[in-house]
């Protein structure tokens, strides 16, 4: 019994500070959507609004056909996994997992069966009678997950659930979370500040900033075609250069940056968003080339660092300083004059801001 989640024009305040502005979001049945952003972007506020710990100033929250907006938290029927896990320290694993069923007046044999089944499913069968204090971080995480899943909620929410685990366990657990979520086909809202985590686990990701969603799309689209400079920067387009179109003829567009250097952008690979635009590139998207006939941005090399798969150079171009990568086979010295050749799959064009 999974349901879709809809947030309609939500605005929220902490005291007099506006923390969310006119936020709308729809999560389809069985879909997992992540809210991704740095602290203070409003992602946790959004989750707490849906959970019912906060009330929006205006707007509506709906789960399926049910209007949640003014419903108290305990009547919302949402499975929530906390960053701190929030396991009840005075209850055993079994009683923690059974807590939600107890509130729903599900008792006796059925409760025992469902609790035991769920504990088994998260692989904690042997630890059912322990208290949370006697569990490892990963085990606590599993109890928190089991506790949220056992009530069979139409919506699951995760508030940075993996941030207290070490790197190895984080990867295991996010696979586990995705597996359990997909097995039940439960709609899920996932909050995190970790890009890799969000991209790996989600159907779609909403990148947030200052209480707004900057872009909501599949990880693939976000990664290769960010809609604006903020998202581009977030997904690793470290270099951004302001450009203006000087000629638009046939198969390609020629653009010029401050300082006069020009690049030619083939229309088959780039869609120019306007007369003025931003050329964004990952360091891998600017190939350092010392070949005499190379076409691209002229640059003078600065410091060279070794990053494993390539050398990375700081480069001075007419349009400013950028980072670009060059092949390991041909290390270049500081001061060399080179050309930075754009690699279309690691570059994108953004509307000017």
């Amino acid at each position: 019994m999974t349901q879709s989640l809809t947030l309609e024009n939500i605005t929220a305040h902490y005291g007099t500070t506006k923390v969310l502005e006119d936020l709308s979001l729809h999560i389809a049945e069985g879909e997992l959507v992540s809210l991704l952003g740095s602290s203070g972007c409003g992602k946790t506020t959004t989750l707490r609004l849906v959970a019912g710990f906060l009330e929006p100033t205006s707007g509506a929250i709906r789960l399926g056909a049910r209007d949640l907006t003014r419903l108290p938290a305990h009547s919302r029927d949402i499975g929530l996994v906390f960053q701190t896990y929030a396991l009840f320290p005075h209850l055993t694993v079994r009683d923690n997992v059974g807590f939600g069923l107890k509130q729903r007046k599900i008792g006796g044999a059925e409760r025992t069966r469902r609790v035991d089944e769920m504990i088994e499913r998260v692989g904690l069968g042997a630890l059912a009678d322990r208290h949370p204090a006697n569990l490892s971080g990963g085990q606590r995480q599993r109890v928190a997950l089991a506790r949220a899943l056992v009530i069979d909620p139409p919506l699951l929410m995760f508030d940075e659930p993996l941030s207290n685990l070490d790197a190895k366990l984080r990867v295991d657990m996010r696979v586990e979370i995705r597996r359990l979520q997909q097995a039940n086909g439960t709609t899920a809202l996932y909050v995190t500040h970790d890009q890799e985590e969000a991209f790996s686990i989600s159907d779609r990701v909403a990148i947030m900033k200052g209480g707004r969603i900057m872009q909501l799309d599949t990880p693939e689209v976000l990664y290769s075609r960010p809609a604006n400079a903020f998202v581009a920067d977030f997904v690793g387009f470290d270099n951004m250069v302001d450009m203006r179109v000087i000629s638009d003829m046939g198969e390609s567009v020629t653009a010029e940056m401050d300082g006069g250097a020009q690049i030619v952008l083939p229309k088959s690979q780039f869609t120019v968003p306007g007369k003025k635009f931003i050329f964004a590139a990952r360091p891998d998207g600017l190939l350092v080339s010392a070949a005499p006939g190379a076409e691209g941005i002229p640059a003078t090399l600065g410091l060279r660092t070794y990053i494993g798969r390539a050398y990375q150079y700081t480069c001075e171009t007419p349009g400013g300083s950028v980072a670009a990568n060059g092949p390991l086979s041909a290390p270049l010295e500081s001061g060399a004059n080179v050309t930075l050749v754009p690699q279309p799959e690691q570059c994108c064009l953004l509307p000017a801001e």
Partner: protein
Amino acid sequence: MKHRIHPLLIAATVVTFLFLLGPLVVIIGAALSDTSFLTFPPQGLTLRWFSNIFEISAFTRTMGTSFMLAVGGTTLSMLIGIPAAYAMARYRVELPAFLGNVFVLPILIPEIVLGFSLMKSLAAGIGLPIMAALLIGHALLVLPYTVRVVGASLNSFDFSIEEAAVSLGCPRLKAFFIVVLPNIRAGIIAGFILAFITSLNDVSISIFLTGPGVSTLPIQLLAHMEQFFDPTIASVSVLLMGVTVAVMAVVERTLGLTFLTK
């Protein structure tokens, strides 16, 4: 925004605080009343009961004794309590765990039993002068406070700082004085002042140890209350409340009063 509190609970809380502060307001009112008997609300305002304190030599004398005793007892307990707290925090492995309980014993043993036992052994037994017995009694009384409060600030002290000082060529003893002490200053001040007020207010130990010619202010007040019933007692009480205010200000500036809820 959420988590509203039931109005009945708020009402109960208001009543509790009226109950807590009301009696103290009554004392202030009684101290200012222009009548020769204790009354509230005050009838006519006067400060003469405050000046009357200084007419009664028993009060001025015991005030001095109490003050000296509180400073002396607290200082003594600090001098031995700080090294103990330091060692308990610094040498956790080397010292047995039960030592921590030893310093709490003065709280566990009822004060009045301690007072009686000290009287029997020190004053009557080996004939220690009253003031010396009082000093020891009060140092014991406040030792748990000094060890605990100083210990609390030592527990949050990063001992690698001290090691850094030593590695930079500072002798250990000097490192204690110029690195450790300044960093636990707040705890020492707060511990001192809390111990001071505890000693100043003590009845149960002092009642047994005071004797001919030497008494403390609370004991003198107690005796005075049983015989006379005039507003001078109220005005002395107001003075003592003033000391409390000063103590609270110091604790707030150092550890913060919320420390007391921990």
